[in-house]
Point group: C2
Chain length 218, copies 2
């Protein structure tokens, strides 16, 4: 169980605080606005009204034992960079901060923030991936040249086992899962003797530049 502090509860800050708490961590949420603290107090370990630009207040709530502090407010660059400065002075080891734009990101990096988040850019990049692959249902980049993809099973595979199809030798793909769309079930880590049902989706790992040409033609 890790201990997190989240400062600034806009949409991003509110969701990171409540998600971390749901995943079983201890979360202290801080915001200058009383209404926001009222709204979040039952969904985190503790929530306090405080001004993050006041180093004395910050030191009251923070010490070196905190695993990670997330500065989730970025509308006001002055507040964000002052808060990061004080966190470094107090001795917080791991700081994550949201950035409003590239320039704000550069300043945070020079202050020693370990992880800088651009929510709009992150979300846009993922959506672009998912939208531009045609027969693909999802595409998760794994390594510089490899990806995990979901692709509809070709008809000629229906009823055949992974052993018979020998997909790794023939097409260089590793089948991680077989989703039966009609039964809404997924067979993860399938055995070589498992068959591919009709109307299924394959979850597989393959080379990224082979995705567009993966048609399973003989």
């Amino acid at each position: 169980m890790k201990q997190f502090v989240v400062i600034g509860l806009g949409r991003f800050g509110y969701h990171i605080a409540t998600s971390l708490y749901k995943l079983g961590n201890q979360v202290l949420a801080i915001d200058i606005n009383k209404n926001v603290i009222e709204k979040i107090k039952d969904s985190v370990t503790d929530a306090v009204i405080a001004d993050a630009r006041d180093i004395n207040t910050l030191s009251e709530f923070l010490d070196k034992d905190i695993d990670t502090v997330i500065v989730a407010s970025a509308l006001d660059i002055e507040m964000s960079v002052l808060t990061v400065l004080y966190l470094k002075d107090i001795g917080v080891k791991h700081i994550v901060a949201k950035a409003k734009n590239e320039d704000h990101g550069k300043i945070l990096k020079s202050l020693g923030v370990q992880e800088i988040i651009f929510p709009e850019k992150d979300s846009a990049a993922r959506l672009a991936e998912n939208l531009s692959m045609s027969s693909l249902i999802a595409h998760i980049p794994l390594a510089p040249e490899y990806s995990m993809i979901e692709i509809a099973s070709p008809e000629k595979f229906f009823g055949k086992t992974l052993n018979e199809l020998d997909l790794r030798k023939k097409y260089g793909v590793n089948v991680i899962g077989i989703k039966d769309v009609l039964l809404d079930q997924i067979n993860i880590n399938p055995l070589p003797s498992d068959a591919i049902p009709a109307d299924s989706v394959l979850l597989l790992v393959c080379k990224t530049d082979e995705i567009e040409t993966l048609t399973f033609e003989d």
Copy 2:
């Protein structure tokens, strides 16, 4: 090659338009602000200055052949919902829209928008996952009970082959990749005869509720 139109070039809109273009798609970017159009025009197929609230202008640039229109502006809910209404009238088949908050999202859904994006919430949920898993370097949910994780290889595995370790039988995990951290190389879809080097990271698929207990003890 798919055809996309992106309306509204704030941070999210700008990044979705340029990412889709980089992935090989045709992208038309629309914004009411001349400066933004100047900035993006070399990074997309075409960029035009137009007011999306004017149905006549929209019909000039859009027709039924467009694969997807992305309404990426959400500061002004009126502009967003009016634009979606006109797109439906023109006959656009697939609409994706960014939402400012949950209420805005509900209105977009009732207008028939197929995909609604909350960039701050999406990005916060992913960050929460990555931060709360201790020895894990990354965690990608695959299915309701399965995940793909990156975990540092335990010392007792160093120098041993996947065959010898028989990880699937002993721990129920499927090793998708072995990252050699020192050489910065990754061996995706490793063979059973491949050995696990020292200072490596395993990319594996396992049951989500077993992640916290995955210590590879005998």
